[in-house]
C-alpha cells in the first residue's frame, strides 16, 4: 500500500443525475483510496448502478465533479474510464462461453506476432496473471463453459486486471454464487486490495461487505446516507441506514414529541 498514502484515487463531489422526472442521484460524494475496499450498498433503486455508470463513463453525470488522483477529469465514454485506469466488472460477466480462458482474457486485445495470434505469449501472461492473483482454475485452455460460477467471476475480474487499472469496480460479484465460490471471489478482492488497488464493491450481501470492505458507503433514494467504518459499525446500523429505519414512524414521533415539549 505504498501508493499515495494521502489523497483519494477517486473522489466524487456533488454528483447528480436526472432521468426525465426522476432525480436518480442527488449531490453524491464518495472517496476511494488506494489499497482500500469501499462497499457501495443500498436498496434496489438507491442509485448504486447509476453512480457506477457515471464513474465508468457509460452514463455520465449531469452535475458534479469527478476527481482522479486529485485533479478533475471528464469521463464521458467507457474509453475515458479505461484510459484513466478504471476497470469495471459488470454483473453479467461478458465472457464468451465457447472460448478458453486465455482467449477470454485477451478478447479484443489479442497479442499478435507478425499478424498472427501469439498464443504462446498470451498463455504465458495468462498463467502469470492468474498466478499472481492466486486464481485456481483447472486449465487455462479450458472453455469458460466448463468453469463454475465462482471461477468465471474470478476470470472476469482477472480480465479487468490486464489493463493494469488503479480502481476496480465490481458490480455484485458474489450474487448467485455458492458459499465456496463466494469465498474464492472475496479472497480475490482482498488480494486486489493488498496489491494497492482501490476497489468499489457493490453488494447486497452484508456478510460479504463485513468480510472484505474497509468502509461502507450507503446510498438511499439517490442520496448519501452515511459512510461507515466497517470495523466500528454494527451490521444493524448499516442496514438501518440502507432501509432508512432511522427515519420511520417511531423516530418521527420522537421528533414530534420533542417539538411539542419545546
Amino acid at each position: 500500500m505504498a501508493i499515495v498514502p494521502n489523497g483519494p484515487v477517486l473522489a466524487l463531489r456533488g454528483i447528480s443525475k436526472r432521468f426525465g422526472a426522476v432525480q436518480a442521484l442527488t449531490d453524491i460524494d464518495l472517496e476511494v483510496h488506494a489499497g482500500e475496499v469501499v462497499a457501495l450498498v443500498g436498496d434496489n433503486g438507491a442509485g448504486k448502478s447509476t453512480l457506477v455508470k457515471s464513474i465508468a463513463g457509460v452514463g455520465p453525470a449531469d452535475e458534479g465533479v469527478i476527481e482522479w488522483q486529485g485533479r478533475p477529469v471528464q469521463v464521458t465514454r467507457p474509453h475515458d474510464a479505461q484510459e484513466l485506469g478504471i476497470a469495471t466488472v459488470y454483473q453479467d460477466l461478458a465472457l464468451c462461453d465457447n472460448i478458453d480462458v486465455v482467449g477470454n482474457l485477451f478478447l479484443g486485445r489479442e497479442i499478435l506476432r507478425a499478424g498472427v495470434l501469439d498464443e504462446v505469449e498470451m498463455e504465458r501472461r495468462s498463467r502469470e496473471l492468474l498466478q499472481t492473483l492466486s486464481i485456481r482454475i483447472p486449465s487455462v485452455r479450458i472453455p469458460i463453459a466448463s468453469l463454475s460460477g465462482g471461477q468465471r467471476q474470478t476470470v472476469a475480474i482477472a480480465r479487468s486486471m490486464l489493463g493494469e487499472p488503479k480502481l476496480v469496480i465490481l458490480d455484485e460479484p458474489t450474487a448467485a454464487l455458492g458459499v465456496e465460490q463466494t469465498a474464492q471471489v472475496l479472497d480475490l478482492v482482498e488480494r486486489l486490495r493488498d496489491r494497492g488497488l482501490a476497489v468499489i464493491l457493490i453488494s447486497h450481501n452484508m456478510a460479504d461487505v463485513k468480510a472484505v470492505a474497509d468502509r461502507v458507503a450507503v446510498l438511499r433514494l439517490g442520496r448519501n446516507n452515511g459512510t461507515f467504518d466497517v470495523k466500528t459499525t454494527s451490521q444493524e446500523d448499516i442496514i438501518s441506514a440502507i432501509t432508512g429505519a432511522t427515519d420511520n414512524a417511531v423516530t418521527r414521533r420522537k421528533a414530534r414529541s420533542g417539538e411539542v415539549a419545546k
Partner: protein, 438 residues
C-alpha cells in the same frame, strides 16, 4: 480446441513425472508452478496420460472429430464389404473431385454457423455465379479469367448484401437469406435467358479446374511429403517456444505420433490417387482453401472475433469488437465461397444450367458442415468439418450409386446421418455445460 499437456511437480499419482521424458521442461520452470490444486486438470506423461486425457474429454463432451471419423470408418467398411469397387482408385479419385464443389459452399456455411447464424441463399448464389461465368465467357466472349473474377465478386457482393440487411438493419438472417434463395435463383434464370443451359468448352481453364490431374507420381507424393514436413515443423517450433517460456508443451513423442498419423493418411491417399490418374487439381484447390481458412479461424484475430460473436454477442461488443463489420464480412465470405463452389460444380458438370444451385445442394452444404462437427448453436466448429462432412455425404451417395440404391433411400439415409450429427452436437453441448469442475 487444442489439446495441451498439463504438467505438475507434485501429487502422489505422478510424482517424479517428466523424468526421462523426451520433453522434460527445465526444473526451474516446473518449480515456479508451486502448489497444485488437486482439482486441476493434470495430464500425466506418457501413453497412459494420453488415454486418461482422452477419456476425460469424451466424458465432458469435447468430442471433436471423433464421431465423424468413426462414422466415415463404418461407412467405408460397409461399402467396401458390399462392393469391392468402393475403395478402388477410380472411385476414390472421383469422390475427391466431387467433394470440392459442395465442400467449398460448405466452408462458407461453417463460417456462418460459427457466428451462430444460417445462410439459406448459398445454393442460389452458387448457381448465379456459375450462370454469370458462363454468360460472360461463352455468350459475351469475356476472357475466362475476368469472367471467373466477376463471378466470384458477384458472390461476395451478394453475401455482403445479406450481411448488411442482417447486421445493420436487424432482419433475422433466416429471412434475409430465404429472400436471397428465391431472388438470386430468379436472377439466375433471368441471366441465363431463353438458352437454358450454357455449355463450357472442354479445353477451357474452367473445365480444367476439375478435369486436370497432376499425373507425375512425384506430384502427389511430393505434396504429401511437404505437408507432413510443414505440419511437423509448425508443431515442433511451437512446442519449443512453449518450452522456452515455461508453459505446457507437447512432448516430442506426441508430435511424432501425430505427424506419423498424418503421414500415413496423406501417403495412402497419394498412393491411391496415383494408381488412377494422379493428383486431381480440384482436390488441391479445395484442401488449399481449407488450410488457409483454417489458419484464418484459429490463428488470426479476425477468426477469434468470429468465434467470440458465436459465443456471446454482448461479450464481443463489450470487448470492442465491431459486430456489424464482422457479420457483414462473414456473409460476404459465405457468398464468395458459394460462388467458388458454383464454379467448381459448373466445371465438373461442364455447363451452367437452370438447375444449378437448386435441389438439395444447399441442404447438403449445411448438412456437411454439421455432420463434420460444426455446431448449429454457434461458436464451435472447424473449417475441416466441411471436408469431413462432405466425405460422409459423398461416400454415402457414391457407395449407394455403386450398389444401385435408389435416390429415395439415399436421401433417407443422409437425413438419418444428419439427425445423428445434430443429436451428438446437442448432447455434447449439454454434457459440456454440466461437466464443469468446481
Amino acid at each position: 480446441m487444442t489439446t495441451n499437456v498439463h504438467q505438475t511437480n507434485d501429487g502422489p499419482s505422478n510424482g517424479g513425472n517428466n523424468a526421462g521424458g523426451p520433453a522434460d521442461a527445465n526444473p526451474v520452470a516446473k518449480d515456479a508452478v508451486t502448489v497444485v490444486d488437486p482439482r486441476l486438470l493434470v495430464r500425466q506423461e506418457g501413453f497412459k496420460g494420453y488415454l486418461t486425457e482422452f477419456g476425460r474429454k469424451m466424458r465432458s463432451g469435447e468430442l471433436g472429430v471423433v464421431p465423424v471419423i468413426v462414422g466415415i470408418a463404418i461407412i467405408w467398411a460397409v461399402f467396401q464389404w458390399k462392393d469391392s469397387a468402393f475403395l478402388s482408385p477410380k472411385n476414390l479419385s472421383d469422390l475427391s473431385i466431387l467433394l470440392g464443389g459442395t465442400g467449398m459452399i460448405s466452408v462458407g456455411i461453417v463460417f456462418v454457423l460459427l457466428l451462430g447464424e444460417i445462410d439459406l441463399s448459398v445454393g442460389s448464389v452458387s448457381g448465379l455465379a456459375a450462370a454469370t461465368l458462363a454468360v460472360l465467357n461463352v455468350n459475351h466472349g469475356v476472357p475466362e479469367g475476368i469472367a471467373v473474377i466477376a463471378a466470384l465478386a458477384s458472390g461476395a457482393a451478394l453475401g455482403a448484401v445479406h450481411g448488411f440487411f442482417f447486421a445493420k438493419i436487424g432482419v433475422p438472417a433466416f429471412v434475409v437469406t430465404l429472400a436471397g434463395l428465391l431472388a438470386w435463383n430468379g436472377l439466375m434464370l433471368q441471366v441465363l435467358g431463353t438458352t437454358g443451359t450454357i455449355s463450357i468448352a472442354d479445353d477451357s481453364f474452367v473445365r480444367d479446374l476439375t478435369a486436370h490431374y497432376f499425373s507425375q507420381l512425384i506430384a502427389a507424393y511430393g505434396v504429401a511429403a511437404l505437408a507432413t514436413a510443414a505440419f511437423f515443423l509448425v508443431q515442433f517450433l511451437d512446442s519449443r517456444r512453449r518450452k522456452a517460456v515455461g508453459i505446457p508443451s507437447r512432448p516430442l513423442s506426441e508430435i511424432l505420433v501425430r505427424t506419423a498419423v498424418l503421414a500415413v493418411i496423406l501417403f495412402t491417399a497419394a498412393w491411391r490417387l496415383n494408381q488412377y490418374k494422379g493428383l486431381p487439381l480440384a482436390l488441391v484447390i479445395f484442401v488449399a482453401v481449407l488450410v488457409i481458412l483454417d489458419f484464418v479461424v484459429r490463428r488470426t484475430s479476425y477468426g477469434r472475433k468470429v468465434i467470440a460473436l458465436g459465443g456471446s454477442v454482448e461479450a464481443a461488443r463489450r470487448a470492442g469488437i465491431n459486430v456489424v463489420a464482422i457479420r457483414i464480412s462473414v456473409y460476404s465470405l459465405a457468398g464468395l465461397m458459394a460462388a467458388t463452389g458454383g464454379i467448381m460444380i459448373a466445371s465438373r458438370i461442364g455447363s451452367a444450367s437452370q438447375q444449378a444451385g437448386t435441389g438439395n445442394l444447399l441442404m447438403e452444404a449445411i448438412a456437411a458442415a454439421v455432420i463434420g462437427g460444426t455446431s448449429l448453436f454457434g461458436g464451435r466448429g472447424s473449417v475441416w468439418s466441411a471436408l469431413l462432412g462432405m466425405l460422409v455425404i459423398g461416400s454415402i451417395s457414391s457407395g449407394m450409386n455403386l450398389l444401385g440404391v435408389a435416390n429415395s433411400v439415399q436421401y433417407m439415409i443422409t437425413g438419418g446421418v444428419l439427425l445423428a450429427a445434430v443429436v451428438i452436437d446437442s448432447v455434447s453441448r449439454r454434457t459440456q455445460r454440466t461437466a464443469g469442475r468446481g
